[in-house]
Structure formats: C-alpha cells, structure tokens
C-alpha cells in the first residue's frame, strides 16, 4: 500500500520464545498490523506502519522486555501458581 512503511525486527530464537513474542504481539494488534515468521534461527517480526515507526518499535521492545522478565519469573513460579489456583478452586467446592 502506498505510504505504508514496514518495520522489520529480528530476534534470536535461542534468546526469545515464541510464546513471549506472541504475548507481546497480542498488545500490538491495536497499534499496527504485524506478522511473525521463523527465518532460520531468527524470529522475523514485521509491522506495517505509517509515520509512527519509532513509537511502534519503542512500545514493542518494552513489551518484549516485560515478557522476557515474565518468562524468567514463570520458570520459577508457574507450576506453583497453577497448583495454588487448582487448590483454591477445589476448596470452593461448587
């Protein structure tokens, strides 16, 4: 489309999981259409943007950073979280 720029970002597959990327991309849909592809050992994220390339990049990188942190936290607490939820729902005894 005329006037539409493409912002292409690459992330090493070894450093970022697909889940973290997709969780970050979930919040980007409102801002810009996106695609995610695997190219060799890298994730290729492509945004369609107008004049807001810097804003999109900033917003996305912040989200990615947050989801990397969440992923680190999940690796330590995710099972426990599920166990707590399961126990709580059982205690409610519907």
């Amino acid at each position: 489309m005329e006037g539409t720029k493409r912002l292409i970002l690459y992330y090493k597959k070894s450093q970022l999981t697909e889940l973290s990327l997709r969780k970050a991309l979930y919040w980007m849909s409102e801002i810009a259409p996106w695609t995610l592809e695997l190219e060799g050992e890298q994730w290729k994220v492509c945004f369609e943007c107008n004049e807001n390339e810097i804003t999109i990049r900033h917003k996305f990188e912040c989200l990615v950073n947050d989801y990397i942190l969440r992923s680190a936290l999940d690796s330590k607490t995710s099972d426990l979280k599920q166990a707590i939820i399961k126990k709580s729902l059982k205690d409610l005894s519907f």
């Binding site: 979930y26 919040w27 980007m28 849909s29 942190l69 936290l73 979280k81 707590i84």
Partner: protein, 469 residues
C-alpha cells in the same frame, strides 16, 4: 543468610518508572523502579532489607521454612476472593415500561414514545414476578426499576410495592427508581414518604451537554432533574437520591461544573463513567469519546474532588472509590462490572416489559439490538418452564480472569472483572481481544491512576477517609 524465593506475581510498569506488583492473594506493592523488579525475580539478595520485609509480609517472597504456610495463605485468600464474588447479593431489575418521555442520543435500549401501547408490563404480571424474585434470590431483596422511564408506569411500581409488602417482610426489600425525574410530582413523592424507596438519576457532565443529549421537546431536561432532586430532598430527606454521570464529548471540559452542580444540589456523592458502549449506543458513542479523552476529564475531576475533600468539603466519587475498594480487598467492594467470575446472572437479573428475563441490563441491551436469543433466560409469564441457563453457565465458566489471554498476566487481575456481555457484543465471544477492549482500557486506566494518586499522602488520607465513613 536467609534464602528467599519469589512466589507467583504479576507486574506492570507505570509511566513514572515505578512498578506495581500483585499476587493471587490480591496484595499489591509498588517497587520504585524496574531494577528492583529484576532483582525480585533473579537477585533477591540485592534488595534492601526493608523492601524484603514488606515483600515477605505481602506474600511475594518465601523462605524454605515458611513456603508451605505462605502457599496455604495465598490459596486461602484466592479462594476467599472468588467466593466473595460468587456469593454477593443479586440486584433484581424490572423494566415496567419501555416508554420514555426523553429521546436520548445515546439510549442503549431504543426506547419508544410515551403514548404507545404494548410496551408495558401488565399489573397482572406482578404476582408471578414476586414469586420469581422469591425463587431466585433470598432476602433482603434489592429491586431497581429501570426503563424507558419508570415514572410513566408509576401505578405498576405502587402495585408491585404493595404486593411485595404482603409477600415478604417490609424490612426485607428496598426499591430504587432509575429515572430522569422529569415526570416526578408531589403525589408520587407523598406516596414514597416513609417507604424504602429511593431514586437514581442522571446528571451529565456539562448542563449544555445534558440538555443536548437527553432530549426533551421543552429542552429543559437538566432543569427538571435539578427540580426533582430538590423536591426529593425537601420531601423525603437527604440520601434518597443518587446520581450517575455520563461523560460525552460535549461534556469533556465540564469537570468543575459537574462538581459545582452536585454541591449546589446538596449532593455529596457522585458516580462518573464514560458513555456506555452497549446496544443502540454503539455507533453514536464510538464516534464520541475515547477512553484516553475520558481519562483527561476524569483525572481533572478527581483532582478537583480530592482538593475539595482536603479543604473540608466532603464529596465522594464512587467510580474511583469502587476501584480503590477492589484494590484494598474491602468487604463491600462489590461492583457488577468488576467481578470474576462475572456478575452476569449471578449478581444481577432483569425482567423486561415483555416478561423476558436476562442476566443483566447489558444483556437486554445487546438482545434488543442483535436479537441474540441465547441471552433470554426465560419469561415471567411462563414460570412452569425452568430457566434456560446453559448459555449463561457457559458465559460464567469463561469469565474467570486468571487464565484468559490479556488478563492472565495483568497486574490488576485480582481487582478487575470480566464483562462477557460486552465482549460478546464486540468480539462475538465472551473473552474478546483485550488489546481492543474498551472495558480493559477503562479499568486499567483507573487502576493506574489510583496508584499514581496514592504516591501523595494527602490523597491517600482522603481515600482512606472514604473507607472509614
């Protein structure tokens, strides 16, 4: 040296670089910066002792010794919170008529002209209505008459009240009439005297905006509301009328005027929210006011309200207050929009002018617009048939917010709710895409704003004062 481990939590970075964290026990804590967040996840030893102490108390950190106890405590708090949302009382709404004297630009239910026939609940439906109420809810019953304009069906309200008094203890029910007050007269007020009847009315932001959107041929909707409030306070006393404010584009600069109007009318409570996006209001509101625009208005309004409180002028804004109560796990922090599982059907039920029964007011709005039959649970005229709750059960089972996209990572998960009817309307399914959800934007913005306010001790004092009233 004590060996700490983090317990599960969610987080969000705020605009001033601080970080809000929360856990399944719905405890909140604010970290001063992202570095502390990173340390909490990977290098707890580098956090200062005071921070560690607070994080331990709030169930964000455990040691080997107290791990089991803290997990138990978290699970029990989580259970308690869900139980609270499951067991709070149900509001019974009755639409005695769809007729209305107003023609509001953002009407959600597509009201009909006041002289039309066929849009009223007949008086003969009252015994079945009361029997239905007694079947689905236990006392004390909270009944709200909605419209259309319920004062056009005042005879119905009177007859319902009289029969209700015979069917249950007088102390076991209260009635609220949601009305523009334009048709209120002395006979009605005299009848209300000494009864458990109160009024809920609308004062929009900006008198001009009020009259522009709440259309009457006489173009004096606001003046009639003002007159009605004065009459209620004079004849029935204080505390018998509450207000709800809708903020439209035309009212976006009217925060001071709105507070002044309330104070001049002797009202010390207000409830302010953006124009709602249900039913027939969608195309009109979508062009009208965004959540970002609403928040500019709302922030100014709240700053004004807080300043007034600091000067000794008591005025409470309940939309903010209910969000604050949800964050503080207050006992009475129940609000049908901020519940997970959702308040739909379990905390509200509505019987409309046809006798159709819905799980919420919003459900009837969506039904009126899209004729979505699944939202009709049954009909008051056909009580031999049991309610069709299959679809409602499906909706409710998907309205826990700890495991749905967009909510599972959200720091406000434990205080927020889920609004399946809104998301069905917008996305065709009850969870929806939160990146596009007006519901999500609004409530996140208000929660963020509260954490910003709490950084100032004098604001905190005002909010705590509201809690203690």
């Amino acid at each position: 040296m004590t060996n700490y481990s983090p317990l599960p939590f969610n987080f969000k970075l705020l605009s001033d670089e601080s970080v809000v964290i929360s856990n399944l026990a719905n405890m909140y804590h604010v970290l001063p910066n992202k570095k502390d967040l990173e340390n909490l996840i990977s290098d707890i030893g580098s956090l200062d002792a005071d921070a560690v102490d607070k994080l331990e108390q709030k169930l964000f950190l455990s040691t080997q010794d107290d791990f089991e106890a803290k997990v138990q405590l978290t699970a029990s708090s989580f259970t308690k919170r869900i139980h609270k949302d499951l067991s709070s009382p149900r509001l019974i709404m009755i639409v005695p008529t769809l007729r209305c004297d107003h023609h509001c630009s953002y009407c959600q239910v597509s009201r009909v002209n006041q002289n039309l026939d066929g849009f009223d609940l007949p008086l003969s439906s009252i015994p079945a209505l009361i029997s239905f109420i007694k079947k689905v809810e236990s006392p004390p019953y909270k009944i709200e008459f909605q419209g259309g304009e319920p004062l056009l069906a005042f005879e119905f309200i009177q007859e319902f009240y009289n029969q209700m008094e015979l069917a249950v203890d007088k102390e076991d029910f209260t009635v609220v009439i949601a009305t523009s007050l334009s048709l209120l007269n002395d006979d009605m007020l005299n009848w209300c005297h000494g009864k458990a009847v109160s009024f809920s009315t609308s004062i929009d932001a900006g008198i001009k905006a009020h009259n522009r959107h709440r259309k009457l041929i006489t173009k004096n909707s606001f003046e009639l509301t003002q007159k009605g409030i004065n009459s209620i306070e004079e004849k029935l006393g204080k505390g018998k009328v509450g207000t709800v404010t809708t903020v439209t584009h035309q009212g976006l600069s009217g925060w001071d005027e709105l507070v002044d109007t309330h104070l001049e009318l002797g009202l010390s409570e207000m409830f302010v929210r953006p124009v709602s996006s249900y039913g027939f209001a969608i195309p009109k509101q979508a062009k009208d006011v965004s959540i970002a625009e609403f928040m500019v208005f709302y922030r100014n309004l709240i700053f004004r309200v807080l300043e007034d409180n600091k000067k000794g002028i008591p005025i409470v804004e309940h939309f903010l207050f209910i969000h604050y109560k949800r964050l503080m796990n207050a006992k009475d922090g129940m609000y049908v929009d901020l519940m997970a599982p959702a308040g739909y059907a379990k905390n509200s039920i509505l019987i409309d002018y046809t006798g159709n029964i819905f799980g919420s007011d919003e459900a009837r709005m969506v039904y009126r617009k899209y004729e979505f039959e699944n939202l009709v649970l049954g009909n008051n005229n056909d009580q031999d048939k049991s309610l069709d709750i299959d679809f409602s059960e499906q909706i409710l089972s998907q309205s826990f917010n700890f495991d749905v996209p967009g909510c599972s990572d959200c720091v406000y998960q434990g205080s927020c709710g889920s609004d399946p009817i809104y998301h069905i309307q917008e996305f065709g399914e009850p969870i929806g895409n939160k990146a596009f959800s007006r519901f999500c934007q609004l409530h996140q913005s208000v929660f963020d704003f509260i954490f910003e306010l709490l950084k100032n001790d004098s604001n905190r004092t005002v909010l705590e004062g509201w809690m203690n009233e």
